[in-house]
Symmetry: C3
Subunit: 152 residues, 3 copies
Amino acid sequence: MNPETAWIQKEIVLTPKPRGFHLITGEVLSALPELADFQVGIAHFFIQHTSASLAINENVEPEVRADLESHFDRLVPEGAAYYTHTYEGPDDMPAHIKAVLIGASLSIPITRGRLNLGTWQGIYLCEHRRRGGARRLVVTLHGQRTKNGGKE
Amino acid sequence: MNPETAWIQKEIVLTPKPRGFHLITGEVLSALPELADFQVGIAHFFIQHTSASLAINENVEPEVRADLESHFDRLVPEGAAYYTHTYEGPDDMPAHIKAVLIGASLSIPITRGRLNLGTWQGIYLCEHRRRGGARRLVVTLHGQRTKNGGKE
Amino acid sequence: MNPETAWIQKEIVLTPKPRGFHLITGEVLSALPELADFQVGIAHFFIQHTSASLAINENVEPEVRADLESHFDRLVPEGAAYYTHTYEGPDDMPAHIKAVLIGASLSIPITRGRLNLGTWQGIYLCEHRRRGGARRLVVTLHGQRTKNGGKE
């Protein structure tokens, strides 16, 4: 017989960050001590905003995050002549477009009490506004808690 | 002891829509009365097509959706000289590229019987073809149904 | 009473592939005989790398995959003047950007023992490096194994 699936859901409020790509693996993990109880499962992260997004990428070199910001700024420029939604500021419509391109959620496997990320992978908050404020995540952990995990 | 995880899976066929970004939160929710029974869980939406996609973004201003369409049309233009897959029409290859950029699925947390979207978030059908027809979604709800939800 | 949720998690190591978009549905399915036991569920695929990604798109025409490669190569060019992370080669920083645009994971519904993909959908490995080597996926299957599946 399989063990039951446990569910944990909580909100995490991130500290405010300037526009750019920010590594938040540590900030997120420190808010999720419950992870250690799961032998196998999925951790789901959902950002409740339309002008910021979540991504997974390189967790060491700050140049990678700076170049991501430079590139997205060119891919989705401020002040394009065809924007009609302009009254919330020049960084607003580009922020919505970047959020659609990158996405609002992440799903990461849990294995033996840890996020099963690759060696070079970290979690990014992609902040697309100049003053986005404190961003809110809904985190949902679900999986098996027993020692024999998904193996049968 | 935890309550069991319940699973509900169903197909939703959306009404046909013209090319563009369309808010479908209401259309989708009206097909999912079962959501109300879940205290905590994940709602997973999967579009079974390669030339349309699903996204989450701003749920009030129609200008945001119009500007998204304008921008994606420039990011992935029709008639690029390097396209070789052209015999299904000028909007076909750009549609495949946009679908890869935006993605075929969404996962949204369920909390106390509702999708736990942020105040300004809605679900978009991103229709990349001029005549895409009725798009089909596979929706999978899974989570706990009891009153004490994910709290322990 | 509902049947329990079963969890299976395993690693798949893909054969090395050259830069480009590759259809891997067959390679992945042949490594997942356990799928047949699930009546309803979700199959989650996670790539443990920051310079390759996973996508779902057209599963027949090789021209679609070639045009995707051509387009992404223009959308995220090598040798942009503003890249500062350049010492790992000209294809490295573009690879990170493409990986953020496309994403590291896929979630696909399972229905009666099979991935419930649309007729024209297949799973892509998007290899963004010239010599990316053997890419590793963590696959997590979860769902109900009994015959009556998600229907109650």
